[in-house]
């Protein structure tokens, strides 16, 4: 086997650290993959051997430096070496979700093929059962489909082609369901520097840490926090299948207990799901845990309290519950709450764009996401200008490890920046150096960690029978029981009478087929019910407010900038 170490370009600190570990500690545990009752351990040596096999196969199929290679894989040990193998030949790996049985294949593949075309990629790795379908759907493209089962052990030395540190390391694809998925470009330098800065903020002993995760790797939290970070730092990973975890959330607790895991990253809904769906009769020893880090959805104090109350007798303490604010465009973390103390809770009201700390009955509780990590600057933009602490506005960020733009989308990239700061689209404020998020400008609905654009939901609902075309609106309502937002859709009826139950079913089926999503509430209203903005567009924010007034006074609707209202929830 070629010694990767000898050839490595020294400038690439990310790959150097990984290759050093492969060569220097081949018997150490890289990860343990759980699938059903199977526990498959992979050492660093096995990771290296398998990654070289993948790299060789990619190269034999024509891929080389700078080429984007898509990975559409189910849960398996090969997720990790398949990704690393692309890096070893200088190619640019990118995970994509695989099709689900619930989702309409036509819309799923339309979205994926738009991504293939946009990136100019010509190679995709997938599992054996899916390979023929991908090949058939891309038959008119210059596109090769490689089956995971065809990857043999490396039968020759791999002439390693290590990229420079400023080369593109990977693409992360943002949400978007109408062919508008944006490819977030990240360099090796950005990833390395982010991981180092984030690791400082975590305050962990990497040689004594173990990560347990069920997060899919096409999600930035799964990819960066639970794969790239531990791979760079040498922290073992206990890897669970997301689908198995959904039906048996206590499996994560099994993993923590039996492998003495110290760190887990979870979106808010997952805390709620584990607390609700773990039978009371089950007891766990979770004493190894040092941090349960909430991220990817707004962190909610009540959900955190629910989780701690459920597992307090099993080793979970409030100081273990930490928060993080992150996004793909900064590689991952923007902020991280402090070590060994619970995230700060701020009682305050927001009035006229100002945060007023108080503890009266009108005050709301805001959960801090902590301070910016090293080299991260956070600025709040209010009325187009940077504001001081205690003023609400759009969160903007700048760091040496920002992304390099959206692939082949210069216009969107330029529009995303102002004075060198990336505009996150999130609404928040800074108080005593800590960052709080309470709403968003971008019209996303985040359901159980998955992002849906409101206009995509509306477009799908528009196609349902009985809905007056162009006359529906979608927005998110926070559901405390499940710890996440739910999709709410309000649609005007067509003049032609169709039974409401039939229209609701048609809308539900449309959302299920297009996105695999279930709406939390669907309301049919008379023509003319929906309110418009002064420019004639249907106003999501004003109609969300009207929905709350007419149907659900207790609904918690995340602040949308369009209203100009300041409250956390209407």
């Amino acid at each position: 086997m070629t010694s990767a170490k000898a050839i490595l370009t020294p400038e690439n600190r990310f790959l150097k650290a990984i290759v050093d570990r492969i060569d220097g500690a081949p018997a150490d545990l890289f990860c343990e993959v759980w699938a059903g009752d199977q526990r498959r351990r992979m050492t660093w040596g096995e990771l290296g051997d398998r990654a070289r096999a993948f790299g060789l196969a990619y190269r034999r199929h024509g891929a080389g430096p700078g080429d984007v290679i898509f990975l559409m894989l189910k849960h398996s040990p090969d997720l990790y070496p398949a990704f690393l193998g692309a890096m070893l030949i200088g190619a640019v790996p990118s995970f994509l979700p695989f099709p689900s049985a619930k989702q309409d294949p036509t819309s799923f593949w339309a979205s994926q093929i738009a991504v293939f075309r946009r990136t100019g990629s010509r190679l995709l790795l997938t599992y054996a059962e899916l390979a023929p379908e991908v090949a058939a759907r891309t038959a008119d493209m210059d596109f090769r489909v490689l089956s995971r089962d065809d990857i043999a052990a490396a039968d020759a030395d791999v002439e390693v082609d290590y990229p420079a540190e400023d080369a593109l390391a990977l693409l992360q694809h943002s949400s978007g369901t109408t062919g508008l998925k944006k490819g977030v470009m990240l360099t090796y330098r950005a990833i390395f520097e982010q991981v180092m800065a984030y690791s400082d903020a975590l305050g962990w002993r990497v040689d004594q840490s173990v990560i347990a995760s069920w997060l899919p790797l096409y999600h930035d939290m799964g990819l960066v926090a639970c794969f790239l970070t531990p791979m760079l730092l040498g922290v073992p990973i206990i890897s669970l299948d997301a689908f198995e975890w959904t039906t048996r959330p206590a499996s994560l607790l099994d993993a923590i207990e039996s492998r003495r895991a110290t760190h887990v990253w979870l979106p808010n809904f997952a805390l709620a799901h584990i607390a609700r769906a773990t039978p009371r009769t089950r007891r766990f020893d979770l004493g190894s845990l040092q941090a349960i880090i909430g991220c990817s959805e707004p962190n909610k104090p009540a959900t955190v309290d629910q989780f701690v109350a459920r597992f307090a007798g099993e080793g979970v303490r409030t100081e273990h519950m930490r928060t993080c604010y992150a996004m793909a465009e900064t590689v991952f973390a923007v902020t991280q709450s402090a070590v060994a103390r619970p995230p700060r809770r701020l009682r305050a009201v927001i009035d006229g764009g100002a945060v007023k700390v108080c503890d009266g009955p009108e005050a709301q509780t805001f959960l801090s996401n902590g301070r910016p990590i090293a080299d991260m600057e956070v600025r709040v933009l209010h009325d187009g200008r940077p504001s001081s602490e205690g003023v609400t506005g759009e969160i903007c960020v700048r760091a040496p490890y920002l992304f390099n733009g959206y692939l082949h989308d210069q216009a969107t990239t330029q529009a995303a920046f102002i004075d060198g700061f990336f505009r996150t689209g999130d609404l928040g404020f800074i108080h005593e150096g800590e960052v709080y998020i309470f709403g968003r400008i971008k019209e996303l609905i985040i359901v159980n960690g998955r992002n849906y654009f409101a206009h995509d939901i509306e477009m799908a609902a528009n196609e349902a029978e009985g809905v007056k075309k162009g006359r529906c609106v979608a927005f998110g309502v926070y559901a405390p029981t499940v710890g996440s937002e739910q999709i709410v859709l309000v649609a005007e009826r067509e003049a032609e009478p169709i039974a409401d139950s039939r229209v609701v079913r048609a809308i539900s089926e449309a959302l299920n087929l297009r996105f695999g999503a279930a709406a939390g509430d669907i309301r049919l209203v008379e023509p003319g019910w929906l309110m418009k903005t002064t420019s004639g567009k249907i106003s999501r924010a004003e109609n969300a407010l009207k929905y709350k007034t007419c149907f659900r006074p207790d609904a918690q609707i995340l602040t949308m900038a369009e209203t100009g209202r300041d409250a956390t929830h209407f």
Partner: protein
């Protein structure tokens, strides 16, 4: 444990999805019930375990076509 009635199953579904007036019959599918997704489905099955003592697991219910099929399965799972 006595055999649950269909009405008891309906009451459980309405309780889990917090919709006391939800119309449900044997032909009702998950897509007809707002909020019935893969996560809330797990909560429903857990509720069936505790309410009826049913030895039923979420993954054996994923392919069921409607509430009637869920009821039929439930009857076979009562110890």
């Amino acid at each position: 444990m006595t055999q649950p009635t269909f009405e008891q199953l309906v009451a459980t579904i309405r309780h889990v999805f917090e919709q006391p007036d939800l119309p449900i019959d044997a032909g009702t599918r998950s897509v007809d019930v707002p909020g019935w997704d893969s996560l809330s489905h797990v909560i429903l099955i857990l509720e069936l375990q505790t309410t009826f003592g049913a030895d039923i697991q979420p993954d054996e219910t994923l392919e069921l076509k409607d509430v009637g099929a869920l009821y039929d399965l439930l009857l076979t799972k009562i110890s």
